[in-house]
Symmetry: C3
Subunit: 269 residues, 3 copies
């Protein structure tokens, strides 16, 4: 079991090589705001991107994709149907899939959709503290939360949510938290500029789906995805004059980041 | 009353500080072409962006957002419904909102929608000369105009439109014009590169919504939004080799522009 | 007839001038992933972009646009209807139009739509080898192909498809192939970084539509579009540290590329 920071760092390096070698095809059903940045992040990483997000195509494609991202950012009626179809097909075909429950809590369309998707047991859930708490909320009788929830509050909820889904839960924040319900790792990389680029979090969900395709140990692949992504962000931030140049440098850094960078910088604990 | 260039310049500086301090949450129902750039412009400025643009969510969200942008660029059936729902809810909740009647005139779906939204009395209307003339056109019996209408023709129409809506009308062009029907200010900042980046105008509408959230004097907040936006464009243009680098530098400049830049450059008359 | 590399290079230079002088208005019905990059590529080139992609507007607009792009990347129900409406209207009005049959082959919604659009006889078809083979496939009784089809297999199919549509077929790859069914030219420009930016191919379809508006010889205008586009990519690649900076530099290069660059670099054979 890859359950020490050292082993996880080694795994991250080999998983990065494997993603670049395999070029996994990641299907994304994601929001209109970040769809371009998400595809570019996958391509920069060395993966392939396919935004097959309409009913009747999303399901069949999920059976052949290497991984799937379902992101609730701008859930039109067609994309909602595509999400349910794709998640079910991914489960049938054992395609790993990531759920990003963007802004659920009180919004009346996406929140019940988030619960339905949660109950389809995604391989990985990724969100900020508020979204993770909201996604668990229904079971606890809650009604959603505002964005001010802290990581301290989120950690036990993340564990409980991971137990509930049988998958991995990743909470994004200044320090990222990843848990399978039992073990819990923290990654203290990244840069605040990542929050000044729209899709900074959403694209990470797609990267998690890419990494999830290379190994059955989804806790390890999710740690690897976060480590690679946030180390690239650190490298990019140093060169950047602001959020515009950061977004550009980040894509360059995702394409260039190598095992040496990971070993030197990854702060997994 | 902030009705002198000097006072408006001072106001612009304090309003910029306030936007950065408050981080107003701007809801955008906008077109698929510019949605990413618009969100990034808001984030760079220091505001927050939420593209809540589906029916049943757009209305409730408009009651809690700090400001709302309704942009007619790619008006799908769902987004049309969301626009009407959000505008009505914004009015009920006194959330300031901006209407950008992109390409109205002869296009048969968006033009009547533009009139309906106009009659809901947006806090601010932003468009180019042709769009402003077209938006006023129905009442005057007109049938829309081509894009060659000049600013001279637009000024009296902008005044009349502002009287009709009871709000502010901003006409974008080489020199921007902002009026409440009585007073009229011109801002001679910006750069032609802004017209070479898609969303250069559309994102300004979102920035107007952000500024509209910090003060009741919407003429002043709209002048401030245009001044900050176009001064940032000037700063970015100096560093840019073309439209690609300009878009990047513009986001950096929006994040960095400060009161000294505004005082030194703003050309309000 | 412009049927020698030398004459086609000269034509490319004059067509580029003409695009910049005329600023053709290119209507794009394209996918959500690349819509922003496509608009920015058209603007950088000196053309105008209008993403009029909803039913009831797409048709009327196609009669006044200089050119039309129909791209099947994320074909929502509304955009599918808009595509058919616009293609028919373009034919009626003799507006040149480009079909980009993204990812057709086995996907069950877009594949029959691609055949229907093919049978409307687009002025130009652009795709990778697999898409061109798949688009021809129905007539040949085929069922679509995976992305591994090579250029060798695609060339005779491209000729046959051009005969079938009565238009031009362009196959994108390391060496681009353009044929009217009789003559066939190859262009050996470009850079692999173009495949690492989403929309690298899709935006070329829009550029083909812009060039198609300046001359009746669509084989020549398509060669010109590919030459300008791929020469700009070469120029951009030299300055780029990765796919993020390449996308930025590419837009700058599209705006700056001039006849000298074309004469020096274009590798048409």
């Amino acid at each position: 079991m890859l359950r020490t920071p050292k082993k996880l760092t080694d795994f991250t390096c080999s998983a990065l090589d494997e993603v670049r070698h395999n070029a996994p095809l990641v299907q994304c059903i994601t929001n209109s705001v970040v769809v371009n940045f998400t595809a570019n992040a996958l391509l920069a990483l060395g993966a392939s991107a396919a935004m097959v997000d309409i009913p009747d195509e999303a399901g069949p494609f999920a059976t052949v994709a290497s991984g799937l991202l379902v992101n609730l950012g701008t859930p039109t009626a067609e994309s909602r149907q595509a999400m349910l179809e794709a998640a079910a097909a991914a489960n049938d075909a054992q395609t790993p899939w990531v759920l990003d429950p963007v802004a659920i809590g009180s919004l009346p369309v996406r929140t019940p959709l988030g619960y339905t998707l949660r109950d389809l047991r995604p391989s990985v859930v990724r969100g900020n503290a508020s979204e993770i708490i909201a996604l668990m909320g229904a079971g606890a009788g809650g009604r959603g939360v505002d964005a001010s929830d802290g990581m301290d509050a989120a950690e036990p909820v993340a564990r409980a949510l991971a137990e509930k889904t049988g998958g991995i839960v990743a909470v994004s924040g200044p320090v990222d938290v990843i848990t399978d319900g039992q073990d819990l790792f923290r990654i203290a990389n990244g840069d605040a500029l990542l929050t000044k680029v729209t899709g900074g979090g959403c694209a990470l969900g797609a990267v998690m789906a890419a990494f999830a395709s290379v190994d059955d140990d989804k806790l390890a692949t999710t740690v690897a995805a976060v480590a690679v992504y946030t180390v690239a962000a650190e490298i990019a931030a140093v060169r950047s004059a602001g959020p515009g140049s950061f977004a550009v440098n980040f894509l360059d850094a995702l394409a260039a980041v190598d095992p040496d960078d990971i070993r030197r910088r990854a702060a997994i604990s």
